[in-house]
Chain length 235, copies 2
Amino acid sequence: MSDSPAGVVDLLGVLAYAELTAFLRLAEDAAALAPSLTDRAELSGIAAAEYAHFRLLRDRISSLGADPERAMEPFVAALDDWHAQTRPGDWWEALIKAYVGTGIAGDFYREAARQVDPRTRALVDEVLAEEVRSEFVIERVRAALAEDATLCGRLALWARRMVGEALSQGHRLAAARPELALLLVAGGREAAPEGGAAPPAGGVDAGLIEVGRLFARLTEEHGKRMAALGLVPGP
Amino acid sequence: MSDSPAGVVDLLGVLAYAELTAFLRLAEDAAALAPSLTDRAELSGIAAAEYAHFRLLRDRISSLGADPERAMEPFVAALDDWHAQTRPGDWWEALIKAYVGTGIAGDFYREAARQVDPRTRALVDEVLAEEVRSEFVIERVRAALAEDATLCGRLALWARRMVGEALSQGHRLAAARPELALLLVAGGREAAPEGGAAPPAGGVDAGLIEVGRLFARLTEEHGKRMAALGLVPGP
């Protein structure tokens, strides 16, 4: 069940649209918020890498005999909403968003890779191998914090809000697409029975609990990124 | 003189900023104007290819010992103005702009390649070898014209305006950067004497005449693209 084409196409569809829209939003932020041409070029480079990921995912959807547009469609509203709720107000917020956004996407890839078929897993590995240029963000943010300590509280709050919005949209999606949710959470169940991932009518709530655990793992990874940036989370 | 670092860095600088800003504007148009996810992904792909070109040019500037940001800076205003004057109002205008813009950029590469040092020429060849995905644009525009013949006049006018704005900005740049202008036009002079490209104080006007001839060649190439699109230029 867990590697059924339907679930896999859903998974590839949500990741593909996430990459496509990340590409477009990062480019928008680079154009509107970068304080110098060098910074603009750096953020553009992160955006272009997202497009390369999108292309790999789209081609995999096609090779499974599915239509990429139809595979992405169910996830457009949730991801567009997330971006609308997390529109950066300045360059620092844009940097944090780039780092946090690609970070969470990477965590999702990792969770997904546990459960899918070998060819899709090879693709996921390929996407993850393309190192995200996070050093640039970390270096820039740390330098800014060293100069202006008051920035820390604001950016920590901003990062927390972004993750909160991501979990909120994630829960909406999990409720609307139980197959996808079960595919993702099955990877986190150490001792799940073989047929345990099948979505019975009453199994959605159990699935949502697993989704909560998945999100707890994602939040933990997020905390590590905040520490790397020098943004210690508040109480 | 024609392969002096100053002229070459100017040339690489204007091309690099043209590619970087094309990347960002195409991404913006893809996000705002594409009628479907498939179309959005296609235009995003053209944008991502522009970023790859930018990276090649930027790295070449660095390898010449120059600072990419400082090399691009003198050309920011002219290219930003061009984009401000040619903001597409709908999807068809965005497609035409992508095709015409990358087409003119390609023509500039070709003109420039005639005159620069061998290593820079090899780079230009590499950029040109990366085939621009113009088939997508041609196919989409031709299909739209077949459905709605009234579109033809409007889009032909739009394309002409874009080229007019490009020539206008080009003339401004040529006046402000005589070294760059002479580097470009030297490639078009079949029988120029060896030292003929040196910019004497009174040589700017002669250079501008050559620039006019260069632009005539560019306009001719533009006409071929209009024919490929099925947009016969008006009287």
